[in-house]
């Protein structure tokens, strides 16, 4: 087996193990209500951290202005309760237009 195939398998098995923790434990281990509540809140905290780092950074540095401007446009649309489609296309559209205009 090549080293690359071994890498893919190790990454696949490890990732699947992480993903399986919750579904495997569910129903077998009764989690306290307080922990359940923290897990749901933790998922949202993770998602917000992902959108913040994903919206602002790239490879450990600033992602440039076009991307955060698009995400911000999407955020404003979402705040105004625009439909999901409008939010997503609005964000991509603003970033694409800025890039077309030469903004990185």
């Amino acid at each position: 087996m090549s080293a690359t195939a071994a890498m893919i398998l190790a990454l696949a098995v490890g990732t699947y193990a992480f993903r399986l923790v919750g579904p495997a434990l569910h129903g077998r281990v009764e989690l306290p209500a307080r922990l359940q509540e923290l897990l749901s809140a933790g998922a949202v905290v993770l998602l917000v951290a992902l959108l913040a780092t994903g919206g602002l950074t790239e490879g450990g540095g600033f992602a440039g202005w076009a991307r955060p401007a698009g995400v911000l446009a999407g955020g404003v649309l979402a705040w105004r309760r625009a439909p999901f489609v409008v939010v997503v296309l609005g964000a991509a559209g603003v970033t694409a237009l800025l890039r077309a205009a030469g903004v990185a």
Binding site: G14, G22, A49, T53, G74, W79, A91
Partner: protein, 243 residues
């Protein structure tokens, strides 16, 4: 959209109030919203396949990786490390570090995946950022389950089809940054978490602190660690007044 957080996980597991029409509408709405994420995921998949092959990897590497690992950011990072000459061990370690968060997500959505073994084993593989966000944005257990499976199965199909096309066709799309897709994914998450943040002050505080911690740590620590540090934001998540 009601609360993203329910204190009693056993409440509302039956779609009792839903007639067939209502259920149909729900599925249609879920497919309509998810399909946009599938499309974006498919295009990013094309770019992943194209980048991998253009960098000198054989076609089977991105294709097999996408089927078995199925995690966009980890795949991009692992291939990036490989192409930069970092070696397979560093590539696997980087990808695994990025995917540690899926354990927290799996715990958060476990109750909506289903009870049987096939559902658990299959559902676990479909746990991704977008699918978890879609599921948690729904008002009750029945909708959350439907959203998890619809979003998850569609995204899996779109991602893998995209990667295969990209690996075979190469750089036909050109520079995908021009489409602004890198802004679309954070925007998807904004749209899905905003209703929950709007109505829960404790959650807003925790998420704000978490995001600040993650951003501050990003230049200094390996990829994947910043979002884990964000969980420290939960220290601001106090107890409910009534509890």
């Amino acid at each position: 959209m009601r609360s993203l957080l329910r204190t009693d996980p056993r409440r509302g597991t039956r779609p009792s109030a839903d007639g067939p029409d209502r259920a149909d509408r729900t599925v249609r709405a879920l497919v309509r919203d998810s399909s946009l994420v599938w499309l974006a995921g498919g295009i990013v998949g094309v770019s992943f396949g194209a980048i991998s092959v253009a960098g000198g990897l054989p076609v089977w590497v991105p294709v097999l990786m996408s089927l078995l690992v199925y995690a966009g950011s980890a795949q991009f990072s692992a291939v990036g490390v490989l192409l930069a000459g970092g070696g397979p061990f560093a590539a696997a370690a980087t990808g695994l570090l990025l995917n540690t968060r899926t354990a927290a997500f799996g715990l958060a959505v476990a109750e909506f995946i289903g009870e049987g073994r096939p559902a658990r084993f299959l559902g676990a593989h479909l746990v991704t950022d977008e699918t978890v966000a879609f599921a948690l944005a729904q008002p009750d257990s029945a909708h959350r389950r439907a959203a998890f499976w619809i979003s998850g199965a569609g995204l899996f199909a779109a991602w893998n089809a995209g990667v295969l096309i990209g690996a075979l066709a190469g750089g036909a799309l050109g520079d995908t940054a021009a489409y602004g897709l890198d802004a679309a994914f954070p925007a998807v998450l904004v749209a899905l978490v905003l209703p929950a943040l709007r109505m829960d002050t404790r959650l807003r505080r925790s998420a704000a602190l978490g995001a600040l911690l993650a951003l501050a740590a990003t230049p200094a620590v390996p990829a994947g660690v910043p979002v884990l540090l964000a969980l420290a934001g939960l220290v601001l998540y106090g107890r409910k007044e009534a509890a």
